[in-house]
Structure formats: C-alpha cells, structure tokens
Symmetry: C2
Subunit: 206 residues, 2 copies
DNA sequence: ATCCGAAGCGGACCGCTGGTCCGTATTCTA
DNA sequence: TAGAATACGGACCAGCGGTCCGCTTCGGAT
C-alpha cells in the first residue's frame, strides 16, 4: 500500500534509459539489432540496471511504448471530440483508428520493436486489450452490426493498423502519411457501411 | 539447367526433418521454444544438415509452410470455383480469404512460427506478395472500389487473417473454427459493400 | 563386384544474446 | 553524521543460431 518513493538516481537512470532506447530504436536498422547492452551503454548505466528497472526486454519496450502512448490514451479517455467520449460512434470509430494509425506511423520504431518483441503475441500486450474493448463497445452502438460481429470487427480493424504493415507501406514502399490515413479512413468507412462513401468511390476515378 | 539429382539419404533426411519439425511445432508451447538442435535431434540428423538443406531457421520454416501450402495454392491457381479462376470477384474474394483463414487455422503452429521467425516482417515472405497480388487484382475488378484503394484493402483484408490473431481467437479464446469463418465472411462482405448483408444484419438480432 | 570421386554427414565449436550475482557506492532517515 | 536500506555495474552464465572439417556413404563407371 505505502509506496516507497524511488531514489533520485533511480528515476534519473530510468529517464536516461528511456531516452537512449528511443534514440537507438529510431536510428538503428532493425529493432532486433538493438541489444540490451547497447541501450545500457548509450544510457551510461550498467546492464543490470535495465533488468532491475524493467524486468526484461519486453518490459522495457512495453514501458517505453506505454509512456509515449499516454497522450493518445488521455485524448481518447478525456478529450474533445471527435476522439474523446460523447462522440457519435460513426464519427468516433474512424477518429480512434486514425489516432492509432498516426501513433504507429510516428513511432514505427517503437511499435515495431514492441510487436516483434520475443514470442509473446501483441494481443497480450496491455494496451491492445484496451483499444479492442473501446473499439468493440463503440461498434456495438452502431446499428447494423450484430453484437457478436463487433468483437471480430474490432480485431480486424485494429489488424489494419499493425505496426509491420504500417512499416511495410510507409517504410519500404514510401506511402506518405496522409495517403495512408486516407486509405485507412476509406476502409473504415466501408466497414461501417457508409453509403455516401460507396457512391463517391463508384463515381470519382481519382 | 541440368539439375543434379539429390542423393537418396539427402532426400530422406529432408523428409524426416519436415516431419520432425512439423510435429515439434505442433506439440510445443511456443514456436520459439523449438530450437534447431531439437529438430535435428528429433529427425535423427546432425544440426549442420538442417542448415545445409535450408540455409537458416527462417528457410526451414518457410520451406515447411510452402510445402503444406501448395495444395491451397494449386486450388487457387487451377481449381474449380469458387476458389479457382473464372469466378466472379465478388464470390472469389471471400472464397480466397476463407481458404487462407482455414489454412492458418489448421496450421496455426506453422503459420505462427513463420510470422514470428526472426525480425523479418511477414510481408517479405514469398507467398504474402502472391496472395496480395491475387487479392488486389480481384478487388480491382469490383466496381465501387477505386484502384488505389484496392491495394490497401487487400492488405487490410489479409491482416484480418494474421496468424497471431487467429491463434489469439482460436487458441486463447476458444473460438470455434466455423464461427471464425463466419465472422471473417461477414467482415469481408461488409468491406465488399454487400447491401443484402447490411439489411440482414440490421434486421435480425441474432 | 569393385573402386573412387564427390556429395553428404554430424557433433564439436564459435560469437553473441538475454538475463543473473554479489561486492561496492549512493541515497535517505534520524 | 552514522547506519541501514536501496540501487549500481560489470563480470559472469546458459543457451541460441550458425559454421567447420574430418569422416562416412552414395552412385556411376569399369
């Protein structure tokens, strides 16, 4: 219950590790190429400090992602529309997916490192369950989607924002950010059964 | 051009390795828990034989998956409708996705091992590009989907059949095979803009 | 049947990784 | 300022993917 306040140096080291890891993942070729020893050296701490603070490699990456993800989560939980609560599901679902996509695009290195961290599937990572629940709940409020469908639909929509897919499109194939967003938005609209969009797509050739 | 015929023992060993690997991946907890040494021992061969025959771990898993995948590929390339060519895209796309889903469901262990093999993203695996091209080509023939959309749509649809998602639903959450198929089919129908399905889903609550 | 070159074999071996241990240095409390 | 609790760090370990090289086995030619 009584939380011991962490020592100063511990906090400072933790921050240094975060910064060093973020930097290394951002500049190195593959996430696998960044070793724990590298991070420790870059942060100017001993290797054991990493493991004491974060448990294991997955824990470190997870904590890092969680930290960078917090603004997004907050914007979703207590923010203005269309991301925040109180928005019509038909508007909020696309907004949510767009936010996730943008995060994964802007933090590709981290998201990629997380999803590829060891053998544990990304579906057991804490935040995935959270996104899924939020999304499923929203989908259930949309008429025309049966309840049992919304669970799978939420998974499928989230799968369209998988980090390695984003990396494949953005990194290897140079798809611009805005275009990716537009395509995900169009896809989402299709799934949600947006008739206007159908008509527009059938009409314009652009 | 002139292919040297492989020696008998080489062929036999290769087959033994396939069988042993398949078995190990099927019965072990996580794909990462199966080491090359394990496979070699189970097949009754030396470790070097594995690497000589398949290059590296990824090569072995890739070859294994490719072998198991061949019937499916053949059914798609030269088979009867609705999977084979000459089927209306609106019918063939769901059939294709269903076939992929079934394969990944029935060979979860292998598909999981492949997608999680090392750091190389599954998007560089040979067959992914093949599926994607087929799917995109089909989507382009469906009116109401602009050409630029079909590329991303193909990716997104394939993402709904990712091995770890299938494993999450089928393995951890015990979703039955037929139900998964039905859900993917419903999702696909939505993406393809099936109006009948929309109406049905809006009407019935089941 | 025999012989011989070559293709194949296997297990000892290597480099490197994630992860641990324990003597030492630092920080908080009184 | 003294003492105990906490954190540090680099040497250390086990296990992995992958390689090497002396030996075995195959198969075509005689």
């Amino acid at each position: 219950m009584t939380e011991r306040k962490p020592r100063k140096d511990a906090a400072r080291n933790k921050a240094a590790v975060f910064e060093a890891a973020d930097d290394l993942f951002a500049h190195c070729e593959s996430p696998e190429a960044v070793t724990m020893a590298d991070i420790a050296a870059a942060a100017g701490v001993g290797k054991a400090t990493l493991f004491r603070a974060f448990g294991d490699r997955g824990g470190l990456i997870g904590a890092l992602v969680e930290a960078r993800l917090e603004p997004v989560r907050e914007a979703v939980e207590t923010g203005p529309p269309p991301l925040g609560p109180g928005t019509a599901p038909l508007l909020r679902v696309p907004a949510l997916l767009d936010a996730i996509l943008c995060f994964k695009y802007d933090n590709r290195h981290l998201a990629l490192a997380l999803e590829g961290s060891g053998g544990s599937s990304p579906y057991r990572a804490g935040h995935y369950g959270s996104w899924h629940t939020t999304l499923r709940t929203l989908l259930e409020q949309i008429p025309g989607l049966s309840g049992s469908e919304s669970d799978f639909t939420a998974h499928a929509l989230l799968a369209a924002t998988r980090a390695d897919l984003v990396e494949h499109l953005a990194g290897a194939r140079d798809t611009p950010r805005e275009r990716l967003r537009a395509e995900l938005a169009a896809f989402t609209a299709r799934v949600l059964g947006d008739r206007d969009r159908d008509r527009e797509a059938a009409g314009g050739t652009s």
